[in-house]
Symmetry: C2
Subunit: 346 residues, 2 copies
């Protein structure tokens, strides 16, 4: 019985094949395909045509290995499917495509362990740059040092650690928070509570600071009990609001660092038969889609997440990429805007 030969998997077309069939040198083919100026437009044309004819596909991998860089950017976020981060990724992607770069995306699900793994993976993939927003768990930065040690550029955004030197792109959180409180104060609210996230994150410290500063500037009383640092979900927002609203000295407004928390506060009000904005003012952060759809509509700080994504990527292409090591690093502040809706308008 005859042995049936394996279907031979046709070999990939390489620049050598093109070179051979055109009787020129492989390096010339390479130059032609890379649009080098050191090649005649005649050869360029020949090569392009032949490449099309033979269905040549450039092997990015081989080129990467040879060149030492990849035109790939790694992005690490806590959750891909949180609209704030999804928007940022979309913005980054848009700009990266313009610059012919690809994007590898990792999510940490708020776990330091996964964040460390993600960094590892991206380093091994030889990405040119890592764009990262830290997980809630992250307090150490050894893994970020690894990025530097491997001479990979990196930019922190939104949830950053000041413990490590890097380019950063953030909102002006202190100012945003200040403005939110100022807004509440102007609407006549006097006892303003702050529901923020874990204080080890810069971001929340700044928001708290802006809150405190505004209280002082507007002559409002600061109540230690009104300041909560671990409120980041609808459930915890509701629970804590229920608690505070049944004490002696109660808040008449809430500054929440997340719209989801605002939602929880709103639920608490409904349960207590209080109404917003009449009894209690609410303002959140992120300007999620749903804030304009609930009753009453929720005021929020628009963080311009999509634009933040664009700016992160643009920062990379305009400066970081070109930069020699040990140059001056830079922080970009992305504008914010108070979106006043029903929940804080009285």
């Amino acid at each position: 019985m005859a042995i049936v030969p394996m279907a031979k998997r046709e070999k990939r077309i390489t620049i050598y094949d093109l070179a051979k069939s055109l009787n020129i040198a492989p390096s010339s083919v390479s130059k032609a395909l890379n649009n080098s100026h050191a090649i005649s437009s005649k050869i360029k044309k020949m090569v392009e045509d032949k490449a099309k004819e033979l269905n040549y596909v450039h092997n990015t991998n081989a080129a990467n290995l040879r060149r030492g860089f990849t035109r790939i950017i790694g992005v690490i976020v806590p959750k891909i499917n949180e609209s704030f981060f999804a928007n940022i990724i979309a913005g980054i992607e848009k700009v990266c495509v313009q610059h012919q770069h690809s994007l590898i995306i990792c999510q940490t699900e708020e776990s330091l362990e996964k964040e460390v793994n993600a960094v590892q993976t991206l380093i091994r993939q030889n990405v040119d740059c890592i764009l990262i927003s830290l997980s809630l768990e992250t307090q150490s930065t050894a893994h970020l040092e690894e990025i530097k040690n491997n001479h990979i550029h990196f930019i922190q955004f939104d949830r950053i650690s000041p413990a490590i030197d890097s380019y950063t792109v953030v909102n002006d959180n202190e100012a945003a928070s200040y403005q939110a409180v100022a807004h509440l104060a102007k609407q006549g609210y006097q006892n303003i509570a702050y529901f923020g996230g874990p204080a080890h994150l810069n971001l929340y410290q700044e928001r708290k600071q802006g809150y405190k500063n505004a209280l002082k500037d507007f002559g409002l009383t600061f109540y230690e009990d009104f300041v909560k640092d671990e409120i980041i979900s609808t459930a915890s927002g509701k629970q804590e609001a229920l608690h505070l609203l049944q004490t002696n000295v109660k808040p008449d407004a809430f500054l929440c660092t997340s719209d989801y928390v605002s939602l929880g506060v709103l639920e608490a009000l409904q349960q207590l038969n209080l109404s917003s904005p009449k009894d209690v003012g609410i303002i959140g952060f992120a300007n999620e889609m749903f804030t304009q759809l609930v009753q009453p509509s929720l005021s929020s700080v628009n963080q311009f997440s999509y634009e933040m994504g664009e700016q992160i990527a643009e920062l990379y292409f305009s400066e970081v990429m070109k930069q020699k090591e040990h140059e001056e690093i830079k922080t970009i502040k992305v504008k914010t805007e108070i979106v006043q809706r029903a929940s804080s308008s009285r």
Copy 2:
């Protein structure tokens, strides 16, 4: 004046460095690092320790080039920041991490041109598999053929083209739509309109078919004018609803293939001083977060997007990856569920 030498950029540590410093062969190092069985655990240990000591970083690029595959999966979606797709991506990512694979993400922004480019890019990157949901514009499939020609696995999901053979992961759109109409009928609605997307997409054809079948089975009248195929935004939903609700024979319910369209219908009702569910029933698709927050809350078909993402990836790892070419392909249907809320409960 002396010439200052450039800071020499220390060279990357390779398996050769490890081999040299341990007095063994590079191939042994490779085997050790890859957990080959053809190596003693003694050497394995030595190598691992030395790798740690010298901060060795595996160069995935070089390995990819040599091996011919990359453990990278490419994902192409219309929009990263649409929650349906964001959830799918998140689900895919979760499973890929478990299998030590990375994800390159591209968005087409509903443009065929960008879709073609994305496919190109991913092919050049030597991804092992492409997971794709088509743009609204996509009617040709030449670029998908290219994927096959380059022997790259691929799976279509949600917005698929039947014009090309491939694994697919979709909802049972016809059944979902049928159940939605059945639900409306049971609630006593009789004149049910259908607001769908472009009919060249399979997905919408199926939903329309399910709608038609249900009308028939429940003895409801089919009005040609109640069927619209290009309604995919809140604005167009509102506009078309305003139109239909001011004709002689008006619908008393709307099946919308998107929650955003449902929202538009709701706006139209408010403008016409009609109320839902009393006057008009509404049900949408996707079970977006906001559907439970608006007044009245909106019924919707839950498509289990995150789970769909997981299943797509699992399909790849459990079958597609292992498959020889020209084997039987397969379609996975992801369950759906009618989420009944106020807008269709009377």
